[in-house]
Symmetry: D2
Subunit: 388 residues, 4 copies
């Protein structure tokens, strides 16, 4: 493993949100442990560590209540930092969760005024995103859910969710913005149960929109993992359905509060297969880290965290390549029949095929005798992860 | 609560699978504790407890290796029991998991012969289902998954899964059977990670089929609950997307092995809202119990279990009705704004509406002051569950 | 169920912490939704809803940085409210988690100065508790844990934890305070992995202290439930080991962030058996609610939440009594052999008994035939919960 | 990493149970996929792969119903295989879960005859263990639990559990066997909720026995992990309390059915720290693998699985050594203050120390400014795991 490249280049398209490395370290039980980082300092920091893109919530860049002139100043200095460094805005998103007015939801609040305000806030956020050339608008519906199941009839909530998404697609098209939307599922937290809790539920929902082609997914490692679902398998289905528009890389233990750990630091095997999948399918969007340093870190520690997030991705990519080139892996894959799964089983239905199939005689006891050597294949993945 | 009806009628459409009440009580660590019940005894038992329908896997009715004449005898006596009792066959399904040949999957086995055998087995199973008038064929892909992530490229697996489903839809149409398919998701067990792990992933997959109208869902309480997802919310989305073709009622604790507990015995609040939803939306399919008595029960104990499964459904239905008629609930719903969520937020996109919305001025601090009284509303659900 | 008492009396010993009903509704993703309630208003509110006791963290009552004279004023007005209402201080505890200096732990911080400060802070907190007559000091070691496993050698951490507990027991004895300590376990959040994560780990730790008799448990529904453990069974073991010194009642779904839901609103069956156990064993400590209203509530809503927490306890207590008096329950218990488990199996070891037992011939096939009727017994619990 | 030793020697003390590699591949949904391996073939297989010890349940070696003469034959050929190979019997245990008579529990069955039979069965199992020189008897109380909470009063169950353990300790002492007992906790499966669900609960229970010194723990990776608890931290507490008598190595995802995966194949980071802990504390007992090959494997595949279980342990041990010798690790540990946690905070209580501490003035804002560099330290663990 001597020749692994562990230092990022712009071509790697690594991106970080302002709220990630810049997280001030507040948690439900503790006060902030870090000072905020200004957007322009943040961009300069990203440049130094070799990242390529930056993303933001509307309120990260332009806090609510900022005056018009302050807004211009902030945007000017942010723009300057972007220009100076070549860092691109890889995505923009809207904060529909911090303000107390969203305590009952945003697009699905029971209060019609809140719902309208939420849509307006996204329109403004889209405008800012467009101004900075963001190609993707992410939607995380963190407050779209319930603690008290009786407080929202879920069929109504889904209607309102759809209405808002359709309206906003209409707005983007009307404005002529070259943007797409990426929805980010999460099963719970901060709400007891979130609508559209997983990659699957969200993809199914998207199919009901007026223009499904405009909307895809922004899946996040931590969010699927909270529910014990394989992020790797979920992303694979999203790719298969051509809905992987953006991705949030971080890490998480199953069945816990949202941890947003450093990518590669926890679910190591699933992460390895994820990176292999992204590389293999030629995913060309941002590799966006939605994680935050432990609360114990500040100063250089948070930038080290950023470097190591990218380092782990690159390590996995190199290991995945080595795995795929390893003759022992090829042999084990062959014994497992991995490639054979790419071949059609029988093809498109016809009466003739059906009759032929029905007449076949399968020796199912013999078929049961096959040894798939999956233990061997899995260990080879471990060996490559371990660098053995 | 004096006048609650707790005894089932045929109109309730309660159904049980042969493998449920009839489960012999084997578990991964213990030998069987009960004798098998013959299909015809089973039907007679269902009749006595007031059920309406019976379902079966092909192998439950006709074990592999049964000779042609035995098959006819079994079917004849099963038919007789159905005729004698008026019990209907409410669903049929295919066992693609018990035989050792399926250890690597059925539709997604890496072995092409196993894949073909699996499709053939379903065709035969469909024929038996058709013979007994089953309106729905359930697909539980219990072995479609992996322990070793490297053993199947998931995009290939999804292709093969789709190919099989398309082929079988073709078969049903070609045969002129009046049937639909219902897919049953499960996140894991017996495989480490299952393809199509949730209601959402399965609905998204169905949209990619040649004829999505032929295929819906058979969601199961235990399966969504294992992943900590709200079954109630998931079923609501399935109804909203018109995909609730069948339902499996049982119970389960989050984050555990598949428990298949008696419906109503564990996730009481979620169950209450589920029954309310089914009743409210006029779900007219079978209420099918896919559960099994504790291993400590046999004889009359297993039939008591069946009675209590139905009893709990009826109790929830009565409580849901009382809840919906309770003026205190109506008042709390009004304070929470439940009905207001049914109203359009803004409507279909138009430039004029967008401009108008952008110009609006929202007093978000004022909007934050609203008290939604969700604690009150939730407690009223508890009160009704408690019969207070 | 006509004659159930659902209104609390002082004899019920219901208590609430200042931080519970008074929680301002901040969460990791949202700003506060409620105004703080002053300690004296809080006490008056408790009086109105019929509670008996109040508890506090040192910082709830006397925020860090409060001047000496302000402290006296706060204490005076708090004392007055207590005297006016008869509300007692049922417990005091120390906040060792909010201040940023505790980001690496308190008793187990790697920084020796932080460790000393933590012990000093508890001593001061104990003094305030003593001043108000608190019979119990609770210890929640929310920050005693790690995200990075390598950051603390766990054997050292446990040594430091023990050292701190021993020192503080020494302090209480030396001061002549009539107090005991109650440790509150939690598996994770806000730290990735907490030391002493469960009731069991904490009881085992207590046995290693210099004076185990001074230290017991304050188990919390939500904390055991997060890990999917039965709170009911855990509390039973604590009672069996004479370590239930205090209890925190609330509610929670398995495998989630710390929800602190209204007691009785989620894990209904486990809650029912818990209350039955507390009543049956004559638990005489405070019934302390460590929960908080949904973020959507304020004003009268939060007091309704308090009322309903107590109401649910009382409802369970009444239902438990009815269950225990129900002849059908007695019969089912008899069939299940519940009482027979109270009888000795064989008694204390002696060679004679051992020889006699070894010579016995057990017909294990016959023993397997027993029907335990657990489904019936469990359904009777459901029936009583449902008020049927 | 060129010079890592990945091939086991006898000094490594790797052991496997007859039921592990020899598992026939039955699961709750599928029939067996493998032939049984005879005990003597098993021992020879272990010898070939370089293991040191073998363990067994009474019924693995001597199935129930085996005649006296058959028993002698089995034992003779097993003894021969041990003698031929030098493989030692590292542990023996009793199957108190497979027989249907144990469906309601063994030591805690409500049926007194079952309880007596269970104790007798363990006495006989201990005799066989003694005959083969097993130094440890493991107790896994897989059936000691409930699905229906009302079916056992837990205080009675704990009494009976204690009575049985005390009796059996008495038996071992009386017989003069040089053995100790190791209890193996598990939170659930096959029972809904198990008594003594975790390392902690079991250690606490042991303290209540007549002779706690005779009884320790056999913790298992999969069992603690099912509940989302850190196995590493749990084992550390067991070591700290001198109760680590035996250990079961395997792997598992959180919140799932009991997976018994190959050690090192899933929870990689926790496994790394676990092996480091075992090596560092000089754990000298067996490294016992309680895992089983995927159902897809047979023949040479199951032995490859065994080899890779040991290989992963050795890889972790080598990586742990390299980590501990790495100057970058030492530097990061120093910045994190790892060693400083080994130093006393204040020492044993005295009035003088207390007064001095109370008088100290801590600048808690300054203390909060420390950067612990835990991200760096954690990444160094990842780097060593990755072999970078």
């Amino acid at each position: 493993m001597n020749d692994i490249r562990l230092t990022p280049t712009r071509e790697d398209k690594f991106a970080f949100g302002l709220w990630t490395i810049g997280h001030i370290g507040r948690d439900p039980f503790g006060d902030p442990t870090r000072e905020p980082i200004s957007p322009s300092d943040f961009v300069n920091g990203l440049d130094e560590v070799g990242a390529w893109g930056v993303s933001f919530h509307d309120d990260d860049l332009l806090p609510p209540g900022t005056s018009a002139s302050e807004r211009e100043n902030i945007k000017k200095s942010f723009r300057k930092a972007l220009d100076d460094t070549g860092i691109v805005v890889s995505m923009a998103t809207t904060n529909l969760f911090t303000m107390p007015c969203f305590k009952d939801g945003a697009f699905t609040s029971n209060d019609p005024q809140v719902r309208k305000f939420a849509i307006q806030k996204v329109m403004n956020s889209i405008d800012v995103g467009a101004e900075f050339g963001a190609p993707t608008i992410v939607f995380w519906g963190g407050r779209e859910g319930v603690e008290a199941a009786g407080s929202k009839y879920p069929l109504d909530a889904l209607e309102r969710y759809r209405e808002a998404m359709n309206f906003l697609v209409g707005y983007v098209k009307d404005q002529g913005y070259r943007m797409k939307f990426a929805m980010e599922p999460k099963p719970n937290e901060p709400r007891g149960d979130t609508f559209l809790p997983t990659i699957g539920h969200t993809m199914a929902f998207i199919e009901t929109l007026d223009d499904p082609s405009m909307v895809g997914l922004n899946p996040e490692v931590a969010h699927e993992t909270m529910a014990g679902l394989s992020f790797y398998q979920g992303v694979a289905q999203a790719i298969w359905q051509k809905k992987l528009f953006h991705i949030d890389l971080n890490d998480q233990k199953i069945g816990r509060y949202d941890q947003d750990l450093r990518f590669g630091s926890e679910g190591i095997k699933d992460d390895f297969f994820l990176v292999r999948l992204l590389e293999r399918t030629g995913y060309s969007g941002p590799k966006h880290f939605d994680s935050r340093p432990y609360r114990s870190e500040h100063g250089e520690g948070v930038w080290e965290f950023a470097r190591n997030s990218m380092r782990n991705y690159l390590a996995f990519a190199a290991k995945a390549k080595a795995y795929d080139n390893d003759p022992k892996v090829k042999e084990a894959e062959s014994l497992a029949g991995v490639d054979a799964l790419a071949n059609e089983t029988i093809g498109k239905y016809s009466k003739a095929l059906a009759e032929k199939l029905k007449a076949e005689n399968f020796d199912y006891e013999q078929l049961a005798k096959r040894n798939y050597f999956n233990e061997r294949l899995d260990q080879l993945a471990i060996d490559h992860i371990f660098g053995l």
